[in-house]
Symmetry: C2
Subunit: 216 residues, 2 copies
Amino acid sequence: MDDKEISKAVVRRMPRYYRYLEELKSRGVERISSSELSDMMHVTASQIRQDLNNFGGFGQQGYGYNVDFLYDEIGKILGISSIHTMILVGVGNLGHAITNYIKFSAKIFKIIGLFDVNPALIGQTVSGEKIQHYDEIPKFLETHNVDIAILTIPKDDAQKVCDDIVKCGVKAFWNFTHIDLNVPKDVVVENVHLFDSLMLLSYHREEVLRESGNGS
Amino acid sequence: MDDKEISKAVVRRMPRYYRYLEELKSRGVERISSSELSDMMHVTASQIRQDLNNFGGFGQQGYGYNVDFLYDEIGKILGISSIHTMILVGVGNLGHAITNYIKFSAKIFKIIGLFDVNPALIGQTVSGEKIQHYDEIPKFLETHNVDIAILTIPKDDAQKVCDDIVKCGVKAFWNFTHIDLNVPKDVVVENVHLFDSLMLLSYHREEVLRESGNGS
């Protein structure tokens, strides 16, 4: 790794490798060749070799990849070999679902605080975690190490909430709101823009219908 | 449009334009120059002009873009000028949230059927929509026009459910499951892989910490 620039496209593909390796691990597969992995992932074997070479290789000629080892190494690269603590702001439907989803399925991502402004929600519990008032965040962040803030709030509040939390020192945001956040250079944002995704689906569906001659 | 190939990257940026134009519309802005749009979107003005030229332009020298017109045109390109009907399979936490989210925020995407295999859920109502048994899907699809199927089910069931629904003629899937689906060429899938997104966030956070010298 060091100072070598790794292209965004390669980085974007890493979680997918991780997912497939997890699946292989769970099936008890110990090693896999790049061509087998290629068949599974519908990516060329040469692409796989190139991608993994970016991070120093890991494969051995004639043996293939050791699944456990590769899984662990990619995990390290992705920074998910240690626990990440998170808070979630906005415990509406989506926030509720994300909380349960994370609690249920993620071992290394841990939600340690839930916050909302709605008085009706304060004190209620989601997945064993009590909802606190939004105003408690600065105090909470003084006494807890929080790696990531999840924003599942209405778009009109999003930038202000983000600014407030940046001021408290949080460096990473998982943004489900409908807007793009402006953050300082040393803060990262990963967006889950659900409607963007739905619009792309709509676009690609039209495209396929057009090609097959059934389009509008 | 016609037969011209539009690059994936351009298409991927379209929903974002649509979002910003929606915002401008709601603020009553009638026209905007590419440089103003550029400031808002943190994209170069020349990129904006190039992107929009792919679809035939829409701008006028010295006037800029008519917000309403551009919004409508991009809407047409994205295929979201008409209603899209959807079913959702798997009414757990995430399915529940997605249903409410869509019902609440989307005018042109309409969920018209909810399905699950869990007997405890059948007959219950989410956002006014009754949950039906999974086995009812083929009959439902015979009598209803469904554009998109949303999958919010465990990964182990995902491919089979997808195959079943493809057989009934649905051509588009919004996939929230943890796997990549194999589909025929004339079927499109848009993935929302939440954990991939979280892993990327983790990666970029590590990167920023490393650069600022606080990294592990």
